[in-house]
């Protein structure tokens, strides 16, 4: 039995379907990211799961019990889940400790137990010394931790996170990412993390669910989705890639000036070729299983350990990522291995 199951979930506002038939299951202790550009329906999906928005079609089940269906919605306060809001949403009129104890006092727990659990949770998120402060006196990262503590102290079975790190600056974001991941491992709570930042999703998740126009494009582990994107959209959204459009004829794929043998019927085709799959060729001979081509260097971007080249191969612009090499110019030979050219759908 999975912790959370979305079955045929649809949300329509008027005639536009913001969420269009999402099927997704989360196992206990899993960290899943709902990834997509703004307007793809990821926040609406999350708000349906939290119980703020009723679905138009489909069901949301938790531990096998139906939480939401078009006819009936268990209200947010009676779901064993918690949400972390993009804006943190911690109450400015309460101290840190009051914010965190909110859920526990509602459940009428004895006050010494409330105090103990709040104290423990504040230690976990390293805010023990700030318990009596008001939110306005805290930094963004500290407010974020208050929001986490406030949700986690109730021991939810599922934590929903709506772009919780997007308001933080880059350094703090990296730090909070690692804290989040550690916290999730330590507590073993299922996380559903909404983000538009593919790097963040890759770094944190056990699985990524990529949304496109309200429907799931692909659901897979970060390594799988990166190595084997199913569609051109996925390949472009997750990391950088080169999309080679061409044609297969007589078991030969031909994309502009490059061609190589493939298995498959004739017809138009798209390949995704990651920039780091292309290397500068050394030596004169072509190794079996690789494709060698000549291209003219157009731009070179140095970024420390690696550099990105933009090369022109018979009119097709290709990005190539190589380890730091030094200034390059003119024509060069490049190779890639045929196995790295992944066939994708439109």
């Amino acid at each position: 039995m999975s912790r959370l199951a979305l079955r045929g979930l649809v949300k329509a506002f008027g005639s536009t379907k913001v969420v269009d038939g999402v099927d997704l299951t989360l196992e206990e202790g899993e960290f899943v990211s709902l990834l997509g550009p703004s307007g793809c329906g990821k926040t609406t999906t999350l708000r349906m799961i939290a119980g703020f928005v009723p679905p138009s079609e489909g069901t949301i089940e938790m531990n096998g019990q139906i939480m939401s269906s078009p006819g009936s919605v268990v209200p947010p306060e009676r779901r064993q889940m918690s949400m972390i809001f993009q804006s943190y949403a911690i109450w400015p009129n309460m101290t840190v400790a009051e914010n965190v104890s909110f859920g526990l006092t509602l459940r009428k727990l004895p006050s010494d137990e409330v105090r103990r659990r709040v104290g423990e949770m504040l230690e976990i998120v390293q805010l023990g010394h700030l318990a009596k402060r008001y939110p306005a006196e805290l930094s963004g990262g500290q407010q974020q931790r208050v929001a986490l503590a406030r949700a986690l102290v109730n021991r939810p079975l599922l934590l929903l996170l709506d772009e919780p790190l997007s308001a933080l600056d880059a350094n703090l974001r990296k730090q909070m990412q690692s804290e989040l991941k550690a916290l999730q491992r330590e507590l073993g709570i299922t996380f559903l993390f909404v983000t538009h930042d593919q790097e963040e999703a890759m770094a944190l998740s056990d699985r990524i669910a990529l949304l496109r126009n309200g429907a799931l494009e692909q659901v897979a582990s970060p390594r799988e989705i990166y190595a084997h994107p199913a569609t051109a959209y996925t390949a472009r959204f997750i990391g950088q890639t080169n999309l080679l459009r061409g044609e297969i004829r007589d078991r030969i794929a031909k994309c502009s000036a490059v061609e190589w043998p493939v298995d498959g019927p004739s017809g138009p085709v798209i390949f995704s070729l990651r920039p780091e799959a292309i290397r500068l060729a050394s030596g004169g001979a072509t190794v079996p299983g690789t494709v060698r081509f000549r291209a003219t260097l157009q731009q070179q971007f140095f970024s420390g350990a690696t550099e990105l080249l933009e090369v022109n191969c018979g009119g097709q612009l290709l990005r190539v990522r190589i380890s730091a090499h030094g200034p390059l110019a003119g024509e060069h030979d490049f190779i890639f291995s045929i196995a790295d050219a992944i066939r994708v759908q439109e």
């Binding site: 939290a50 703020f52 209200p75 947010p76 306060e77 009676r78 918690s82 949400m83 809001f85 993009q86 804006s87 949403a89 911690i90 109450w91 400015p92 009129n93 909110f102 859920g103 509602l106 459940r107 008001y134 306005a136 406030r150 949700a151 109730n154």
Partner: protein
Amino acid sequence: MYSRAYKTLVSLPPLLWVGLFLVLPYAMMFAHSFWAVRDGILVHQWNLHNYVTLFSKPVYVEVLWRTMRIAAAVTFCSLLLGYPLAYYLSFHAGARKELLYQLVIVPLWVSYLVRGYAWKTILGSEGVLNGFLQYVHFTHEPVAFFLYSPFAVVLVLTHIYTPFVFLPLYAALEHIPRPLVEASEDLGAGSAQTFLRVILPLSIPGLLAGATFAFVLSLGDFLAPLLVGGASGIMIANVVQSLFGAAYDWPLGAAISVCILLITISLLFLSERLEKRWSSK
């Protein structure tokens, strides 16, 4: 950077305005309150007699006290009406929000006097309300206390000042970020708990502002008691008006005005302090 001349030029009109229409009249009022009237002539002789009269004659203290009670009742009633209205509009009105908001605002365009007279025709012994009550045999004699009573004054002032309470309250409620409310529901609070623990505390500044409006405006009101108050509904502003008019005792009128001004200023000060303390949390 702006030149010194430019800055002076720009600040001159507001300074002139405040000086001519605020500082000067208040100074004159203040001075008058320490002068006297002898044989129907105003004499510029400094004395404290007016203040002694004010606090030794029970009639003035009584009217002042009644005025405060009426203002407090108006404040209470308009909060009782204005808060649920503002809460409903802000949180539950959905698509009807704009329309309902306009419906609250539109009556403010109707002249105060017209609204006062309208109440006269409703509350009078030949009025709509008494006619109806007799028609349904609720009573056989017209109910007298509807009109020309403190009750009528409270009723009319509540009608007139409820929008003034509603507006700051509505603004305060609209400024509460919705995730703060959703977070409360998410953590297990029902709507009553969410209201008491999140919405109400966060709307306190608006509530204080609205209450101050209603109290201060009622305290200085002069038309409602004149129209519907009768003898038992006289308020302090009516006393001031008669002292400046028929009774021709400007100094005493000025002394009462100074008292009202002091009450008003201390109320504004108190409300601002409370508001600051609340929002600095």
